[in-house]
Symmetry: C2
């Protein structure tokens, strides 16, 4: 990967005109194999959010480039499934005469298959690209329709994708102790203990963030996330088979991995599963490929379905990782402040666009000298584009940043010591009373979550409503979660914790990093989101307190636009929080920025 | 039932000395049947919270009288399982040399069986007294231990309980249209539609509150809840077989039920299940007896496990039921105000006890002329007894209501137009600063929940934390739910809604009645709870509002003790709520009470 090339590009990467010939070619190939249809998910063998170019099968076939979705091609009809974030985008990108856009969540593949698969039809799927849980669901639907679901030995889409890129082979590198905070050997030993406690001989680890965390390695196989793609089998004794292309290795990496980690070719993974006869093997049905379950069962192994044993330990960052995250956020906050100061100077001139802003922000982050990548494509939305929750600017959607309009920028960086994710919304010129009211309500929700103290054992689901109540009082809400987990120089979206309406049962544990990002979106007008990252930590005791309590430490540092705050809507405590936060931003960042930025920062962080 | 007899008694109903001979007799009986053990739940065939005397098997065997629990008797050991509410009580009541007190929730029967059932042992259970879901769990545990779970044709405990009371035969009466608001025929028709939509031919209805609601009947078979115990089968055409002792019927009831409801003897229920061959029958695995599933399967019926189809419609009260609830709460609030005024006069004299208070309150409720029963035994707790969350006063625990101590009274009434449940906590004399601080935090939580507006689709779990946050801020919490559903002249605890930490997915729907009852308990010192009932209703629209919003209407009317409120801890909005609530209490109740009470009420509801 050329580290000097921009991490974000703004070209329209796909073309609806390719849909017809590609779908036709796929159908010819399916007929050769006696199949009546095929399911194309937006997933690779590892079920990560970012996938290598080789795995962008959904975009290749349908021209839809969203980060989640699927397509089903039958003989005489085809559908593309997207969630609420992408209902507009999919219609702009795909050929809707060929692919009927459907609701991924409300309807889902399962219901569509039930209603559309012809009786007796054979519907193919690539068992490496679907989780075991997903396949169970799809099989039930196919059978309800009177058809059958057929696992394909080889992927028929790959067969017709003549210029499909090869699997990536970017160098994997050690993630040093001063960043990881715990030696890989220690991690392997304690996770192996957990595997043993569950009564298993080994665990098949398939999530790339789990493997990178477990072995303290990072790589460059996918955009925006330092994954080294691989499979691993962790044995009860802590030794590990790592199935990874040898070209990604190096003498340095081999030394780092040590003797207890056996580097093997990816092609040896299936034979290794086949050799597990009589063994009890943990695999996660919600994240591991169906193919892994199939192979293990066929080999005579006993599969124990359980959560990936690395996910929870990985989510609970240690002191070194937390300190790294704090440092990364100071660095990132300084870059973001330079950007916001630049924007405050330049935007009123009226010549800036969304792409200009995103490019400039990438430049300031790059100038820190520590940037490995963006943690995702910046969402740079002016005016009505700000109301598109997962907007990604391209040359064809690029919009000027106009006077008296709001501008929302949600962005993040990958630094070796930490992953950042921050959203700021600002006004160029003068806001309307409605803008100030809505912004202040979002801010009140943000503060309510930032300041909550809660007992050990509390879930994110129990706290979510604090961030929404000021909007609820005005009959408003937002249709996304309030907080997601964030990795440590890993994926910007990670589980198992979550702060949302979804009734998940994972409690918030010390060391977990989460986003705090309430928002408000007025379609066709403007969007607001205020996002900081927080770390779950044990709360200081208060006099008379009886329970072990947790609190959030806010680690993101950047001014919140005071031009959008309506002070009369804030309580005294809320105003105190805002002023204290801005004081901390000023004190921490002012030594880190140039004079021009410092002058702006002082005004931007003034007490109100 | 003698309607003039007190609804609450204060005698110790059991005696630990009976444990030894009864356990011995049960073991002899088990040996006769080749059983090595037997499970005794605190449940009848209908899984209601209140059971007839005949079904108080757990109390008969162990002397433990709590409202939930179970026992297991093996050949050489026995255990009694209770939840956190009853850990103290069980040790006072049972013979702990015979019955080892265990944790019903943390450990549970399942884990205990795994660890204690001898290999090869046969553990008996009465399949009419356990739900299908519970039996699945118990069977798994018995098998893990290398034993077997054996369904008993007849209950071996009943065989040795020589003076076991007969099944109750209290008169069932029609619940009139001016109370029910919807004709039974209409209910049967629409629930039958739901059954049809689920693809079933019929539904086995086993919960007494479902049957009483569906057929608009009430009865007197169990304490404190107007249940007519029965089973029912609702057919797709809306016609219903009602299996109920004929002695409970009357010409009036037969006329009310009409021709579409066929009254049959309870002994005909099993043959009716046996006749369902080839039919698809809904049964609720979480509430219906395992025996019902066993019979249906054996008969060749297809059992469709689904929620009891009456539970959700029953929970959503219609306009007549809500108006009835409001009226019942005015009547009850007047009675409670008379009581509180009396207590304010008498308690400082220092001669009152917890039993005096509960007796006097029952008297004031009875004097309304509309009282059918208490909705549960009043929790009348002075000083440290107030900290026992589910305290029930008896002659042996009865405590004087002392000066400068707090007194908590949680009570409710069954009126034909509505069921009430209210808790007030007050101080006799002067509170400490700690008492005022804790009481005010509980009040702040109560107000936070009472005033929340929330979007359609919100669960109670999402709102629970609002009631806790003021306590969380001081490092405190309470170990019970914040709100339970309440029936309409039915059970004071009903589902499927709930406001608690439990991640249930049932959303709050218009017409649901819930309690709002945060608390705080300082063991050995005092207890605080402030409980009002609320009705979920559609919120009035606010200008600029975009979503359909819900709100709570508080229907309980009684003063909240201002002597315990620390005004400096209240926000202006909280103070406004309290003053507006007290104004409403005054305006509504002052015309309903005697002069002496009115004088007290005016002071008790003064603006602060």
């Amino acid at each position: 990967m050329d580290k000097n090339a921009p991490f974000q590009t703004y070209d329209d990467q796909t073309d609806a005109a390719t849909c017809a010939p590609r779908l036709a070619a796929l159908r010819v190939e399916l007929a050769k194999h006696g199949l009546d249809g095929f399911i194309v998910p937006r997933a690779d063998e590892h079920q990560g959010e970012y996938v290598p170019k080789r795995a962008e099968r959904l975009a290749w076939l349908t021209a839809f480039t969203g980060s989640a979705g699927a397509a089903i091609a039958l003989k005489d009809k085809a559908a593309v499934f997207v969630d609420g974030r992408y209902t507009l985008q999919v219609r702009q990108q795909t050929d809707t005469k060929l692919f009927d856009p459907r609701d991924l969540v409300g309807e889902g593949l399962a219901t569509w298959i039930e209603n559309n698969l012809p009786r007796g039809a054979k519907l193919g799927y690539d068992p490496w690209l679907h989780t075991a849980a997903a396949v169970d669901l799809l099989r039930g639907s196919a059978e309800k329709a009177g058809g059958t679901l057929v696992a394909c030995e080889t992927n028929p889409l790959d067969a017709v994708w003549s210029d499909q890129p090869p699997p990536p082979t970017e160098r994997a590198i050690p993630h040093a102790m001063n960043l990881a905070g715990e030696a890989a050997e220690s991690k392997r030993t304690r996770i192996a203990e957990d595997v043993k406690k569950l009564g298993a001989d080994a665990a098949a680890i398939t999530l790339p963030d789990s493997i990178c965390w477990l072995l303290n390695i990072r790589g460059g196989d996918v955009p925006h996330t330092p994954f080294a793609l691989a499979f691993a089998i962790l044995h009860q004794d802590g030794s590990t088979d790592l199935f990874m292309d040898e070209r990604k290795s190096s003498p340095e990496l081999a030394k780092h991995l040590g003797n207890a980690v056996r580097l093997k070719a990816p092609s040896e993974f299936v034979p290794a599963l086949d050799a597990m006869k009589g063994k009890i093997v943990i695999a996660d049905p919600t994240t591991a490929s169906s193919a892994i379950f199939d192979r293990l069962k066929k080999a005579g192994a006993k599969v124990k379905p359980a959560a990936d044993p690395c996910q929870l330990p990985k989510a609970c960052k240690n002191a070194v990782e937390i300190e790294g995250a704090r440092n990364a956020h100071v660095r990132d906050g300084a870059a973001l402040s330079r950007f916001l100061a630049w924007l405050a100077r330049e935007a009123p001139g009226g010549h800036l666009t969304e792409i200009d802003a995103a490019t400039q922000l990438e430049g300031f982050r790059r100038a820190t000298g520590a940037l490995s990548d963006l943690s995702f494509d910046s969402i740079s939305g002016a005016g009505s584009n700000g109301a598109v929750v997962h907007y990604r600017v391209t040359r064809s959607t690029n919009r000027p940043i106009k006077k008296n309009e709001m501008f929302l920028i949600d962005s993040g960086a990958q630094y070796p010591d930490g992953t950042t994710d921050v959203t700021r919304t600002l006004i160029v010129g003068e806001p309307t009373a409605e803008m100030r009211d809505r912004f202040t309500r979002v801010l009140k929700g943000h503060i309510a979550l930032a300041t909550v103290r809660f007992p050990d054992g509390t879930t994110g689901a129990a706290l979510d409503a604090f961030a929404r109540r000021p909007l609820w009082e005005a009959g408003l809400d937002y249709d996304h979660g309030t907080g997601h987990g964030v990795g440590s120089y890993l994926s910007v979206h990670e589980g198992p914790q979550n702060i949302s309406k979804r009734p998940i049962t994972q409690v918030l544990k010390p060391g977990m990093i989460c986003s705090n990002e309430p928002g408000y979106y007025k379609t066709g007008a403007f969007g607001i989101r205020i996002e900081n990252l927080v770390v779950v930590s044990e709360a200081k005791e208060v006099s008379g307190g009886e329970r072990k309590m947790m609190e959030f430490e806010t680690i993101t540092l950047a001014p919140i636009d005071l031009n959008l705050v309506e002070p009369r809507l804030l309580t005294e405590e809320e105003r105190d929080w805002l002023n204290a936060y801005h004081k901390r931003v000023w004190e921490t960042l002012s030594p880190q920025v140039d004079d021009e930025t410092r002058g702006w920062l002082e005004r931007a962080t003034r007490a109100i």
